[in-house]
């Protein structure tokens, strides 16, 4: 009656590892992503300065190009500094922390919310199912950025609000995915067996149905986490996302935008490059995961 036994998990994780080992590009993406996550986790240990401790900033070091030494010649800014003399490299690592954090939190939120609603829709069927799926259809006919923009315009900006906006935008993908997977499972005998044993609804949904619908969810989550990070950056760039006290990569790029015209490209360019590397590495991993977990492509 177990959803997955340990041998199965072992073989599927082994298979997963083999798919990555077989594809050097995807493996590169995985290593890169791991490195970025480590950098973001241990940010205070790997950067030369705390970019938001004003005592460590020197206004005389403002807008130095990459590869400059500080005014007192004690520090070296290999990616330059911004208008307040902040080391761009340190700001990027701290920004990555916020961007990744927002991406992961909102993906988790959307995953939990969307999965619960999608599974319930498949399990309960009838009116509840058609109501949820109508909402999903209607929501997915609008671009994510528009819905997020409306929510932020309506409720204002802030860390909590942007996470809520991203969850609201993304839950529908998970709901739709898990529902279609669950509908297939619902027709199978083990669900019928669980029902005739008189198990509770919650137990059937979460202990029997859910474990068998996990693979497509992982694929969607891998793609959506990159989308969430990009969307947060875009909204923050437009001045509608995170407040200035939570400087994500999008805000750093927006901050340097004003200096772009005078040729001081590095204030915007390098945070953008970091954002790009982060999104590309997630997408490379996601792409491979999609192939590996898609049963139709398995030989």
């Amino acid at each position: 009656m177990k959803g997955l036994d340990t041998a199965q998990i072992e073989s599927s994780s082994k298979r997963l590892w083999l798919t990555f080992a077989a594809d050097p590009v995807a493996l590169f993406g995985l290593v890169l992503l791991g490195l970025l996550i480590l950098l973001a986790l241990f940010a205070p240990l790997v950067v030369p300065q705390n970019p938001y401790d004003l005592a460590q900033l020197n206004i005389l070091d403002g807008r130095l190009p990459p590869g400059s030494s500080s005014f007192d010649e004690k520090k070296f800014y290999f990616l330059g500094t911004d208008d307040q003399g902040r080391d761009i490299y340190s700001a990027i690592i701290y920004g990555m922390r916020i961007s990744l954090g927002v991406g992961i939190l909102s993906t988790l939120g959307a995953l939990i919310g969307g999965t619960t609603l999608g599974l319930s829709a498949a399990y309960l069927g009838k009116k509840f199912d058609s109501l949820i799926m109508r909402i999903v259809d209607i929501q997915l006919s609008f671009p994510a950025i528009l819905i997020a923009l409306i929510l932020l315009a309506v409720f204002g900006q802030g860390l909590g609000k942007i996470i809520i906006a991203l969850i609201t935008v993304q839950w529908a993908y998970y709901a739709r995915t898990v529902r279609s997977a669950a509908l297939v499972e619902m027709g199978k005998e083990y669900i019928e067996a669980a029902r005739s044993l008189g198990l509770g609804h919650l137990r059937i949904i979460f202990k029997h149905l859910l474990p068998n619908c996990v693979a497509p969810l992982i694929v969607v989550a891998a793609v959506q986490i990159a989308a969430a990070i990009a969307l947060e950056a875009t909204l923050s760039f437009l001045g509608l996302g995170l407040p200035i006290t939570e400087p994500s990569l999008g805000l750093l790029i927006s901050n340097g935008y004003a200096y772009l015209m005078s040729g001081k490209y590095w204030i915007s360019f390098y945070p953008g490059l970091a954002l790009l590397i982060m999104i590309v590495s997630i997408n490379l991993v996601a792409d491979r995961l999609t192939d590996a977990l898609n049963p139709r492509l398995q030989k």
Partner: protein
């Protein structure tokens, strides 16, 4: 067919109503626009007079019903900042956004369909693989950052193209357009390219998978057996069949291009509806925000309906009556 359209229309109307309620109630909650409009030295009497003139002293529901009544008359309120009707303000910015979106879609299709065909026909060669690798990059690149890089490279470093504004416009059928003058095209190119890149990757992938799929079909094998030239097989038989999903997606994505032009317009200071929306959010110009959102929802509802109908016309297998069940 008629029931399908009616059902979709009533659904759309419901969406519109919910949206207007949500947006109106929410926008009402963010800050007081009177504070932004009057000088700090204004007396309490002045403040009261402005509040009354804008109708902000009435209860929320009264403002909403007044708003709904006015909407049905085609009046979406006056902009707090400009004093002109919000809908006129929006409509005056619409040609700029439409021109940008159409130009972007043309670039994306003109480049994406041939590249996708090549990638599909030569899937295993380095050409096909390179095109696909570039398209993965295209999916990953954040639009706003690409815009900045374009400005950095073409405007600041090379100085070839202007980085902001729309340039000289000329009138075409009473609408101001940029693409008729050289100066206008120079202004249009970078923002249109920026917006196009966002859809290019999608069109490449769609064309490629369509091509690969149709190459395996019997009608292609039959056409080959008949001795038709390769260019005719691909140009006529394959292309015609893969156009169905491509047209659908181009149509569906047109709405999202308009939504995404908010970002591009903000970067390139393109004077369209998207830039107006961002400016209005920053200025708490409620009627313009509400009018924009209502307009774009109506717009989306029509795009979705139109795409369904086009799809049914292009693909006789789609039975609208059945899909309505």
């Amino acid at each position: 067919m008629v029931t399908f359209i009616l059902r979709r229309m009533s659904e759309s109307f419901f969406v519109l109503l919910v949206m207007s309620l949500l947006v109106f109630a929410g926008v009402y909650a963010i800050g007081n626009p009177v504070d932004l409009l009057i000088s700090p030295e204004a007396t309490p009497q002045d403040i009261e007079r402005v509040t009354q003139a804008l109708g902000l002293d009435k209860p929320l529901w009264a403002q909403y019903f007044y708003f709904l009544k006015q909407v049905l008359k085609g009046d979406l309120g006056h902009s707090f900042m400009f004093g002109t009707p919000a809908i006129d303000l929006l409509l005056s910015k619409m040609p700029a956004t439409m021109e940008l979106a159409v130009a972007a879609m043309l670039i994306a299709s003109a480049v994406g369909i041939p590249l996708g065909l090549i990638a599909g026909l030569k899937a295993d060669s380095w050409v096909g693989k390179t095109i696909m690798a570039v398209s993965i990059l295209g999916f990953s690149l954040p639009t706003f950052w690409v815009g900045l890089v374009l400005i950095m490279f073409f405007s600041v470093e090379l100085g070839w193209l202007p980085s902001s504004g729309r340039g000289a416009t000329s009138l075409l059928l009473g609408m101001p357009v940029s693409f008729l003058s050289w100066e206008g095209i120079r202004h249009l190119f970078l923002p249109a390219l920026n917006l196009a890149l966002f859809k290019l990757a999608l069109i490449i992938r769609l064309t490629r998978s369509g091509t690969q799929e149709s190459l395996r079909q019997d009608y292609v094998r039959f056409a080959r057996a008949k001795g038709l030239s390769e260019s005719r097989i691909i140009g006529v038989h394959v292309l015609k069949n893969i156009m169905i999903p491509i047209v659908t997606v181009i149509g569906l994505e047109f709405g999202s291009v308009i939504a995404f032009s908010i970002v591009t317009e903000s970067i390139f200071a393109w004077p369209g509806m998207g830039k107006l929306l961002i400016d209005s959010i920053n200025n708490l110009d409620r009627p313009v925000i509400v009018a924009y959102l209502c307009l774009i929802v109506v717009f989306f509802v029509f795009i979705n309906l139109a795409v369904d109908l086009i799809y049914a016309t292009l693909d006789p297998r789609v039975r609208l009556g059945e899909s309505a069940q």
